[in-house]
Amino acid sequence: MAQNDKLSVTMRQSALGRARGLGAAKSGVHHWWAERVTSVALIPLTLWFVFSVLSLAGHPQADIAHWVSQPIVAVLLLAFIIASFHHAQLGMQMVLEDYLHDEGQRLIWMMVMKAIIWLMGLAAVLSVLKLAI
């Protein structure tokens, strides 16, 4: 213990910087936390979605349309779509951040990835709304 007394840590952050709690990423723990929240939400939503879709396997379009026309189903479907696409976007962001080291490339692929996921998510949401309303 005696030699540890000599060790000290220099805080290179200002008091304001510490209070804000934002590191080099400038966004704090929001990304990490959003990933946890969506994953917890997706536990029941995934179970519901998978077994609902399985029970509709091979059914004609009319049956699907009737299923989605129930308000509870439409709401849960929208929740599943939003949570899963948000979760996918957060996860893919982490993958790109880890493996793309060139700043410019990372920026471009990040935008391409987010654009694709946003468009897919919007298409899914619109489809549910069209069938539900």
Binding site: L42, L54, A57, G58, P60, Q61, A88, K130
Partner: protein, 144 residues
């Protein structure tokens, strides 16, 4: 000119002489472990599921477009390629589902002991197989 990174790699012995610190083995030569393999699989299945979302979007858009478009989407899903993709998708889904729960348990500080983490890895793999088989039994029973 010396590399700036040397500032982090070069250390001093107790007698004051300089020494290059050992580097931890790189990923390619690191022996695969239960912990690393199951964690990487969680990422791989996550990426696969993101790509697989395309299939779900197609299914939903087709259902919203009309019976003909839906029959086309369903025809693809029922084709050999479609069934292989769906099998991979269910496998990836259940792995990521149970692997994700394992990660959440780690997040709350549970299951870090090596024995426990090996046991939960086995549970994740077993649960993935069981749920994939159950999913296909239900799906095929409804479909056929």
């Amino acid at each position: 000119m010396p590399d700036v990174r040397d500032a982090l790699i070069i250390g001093k012995r107790s007698d004051g002489s300089l020494v290059r610190r050992p580097l931890s083995p790189h990923l390619q030569v690191y022996k695969p472990q239960v912990s690393s393999v199951t964690s990487i699989m969680n990422r791989v299945t996550g990426v696969a599921l993101t790509v697989g979302l395309l299939l779900m979007v197609w299914w939903l858009v087709a259902a919203a477009t009309g019976p003909k478009a839906f029959a086309a989407a369903q025809g693809f899903i029922g084709s050999p390629i479609g069934l292989i993709l769906m099998f991979g998708w269910t496998l990836a889904l259940w792995y990521h589902f149970f692997g994700g729960i394992r990660h959440l348990l780690w997040d709350i500080g549970w299951g870090f002991e090596i024995q426990t983490s090996h046991r939960t890895a086995m549970i994740v793999v077993a649960a993935t197989v069981v749920m994939t088989v159950i999913s296909w039994i239900i799906g095929l029973a409804v479909w056929l």
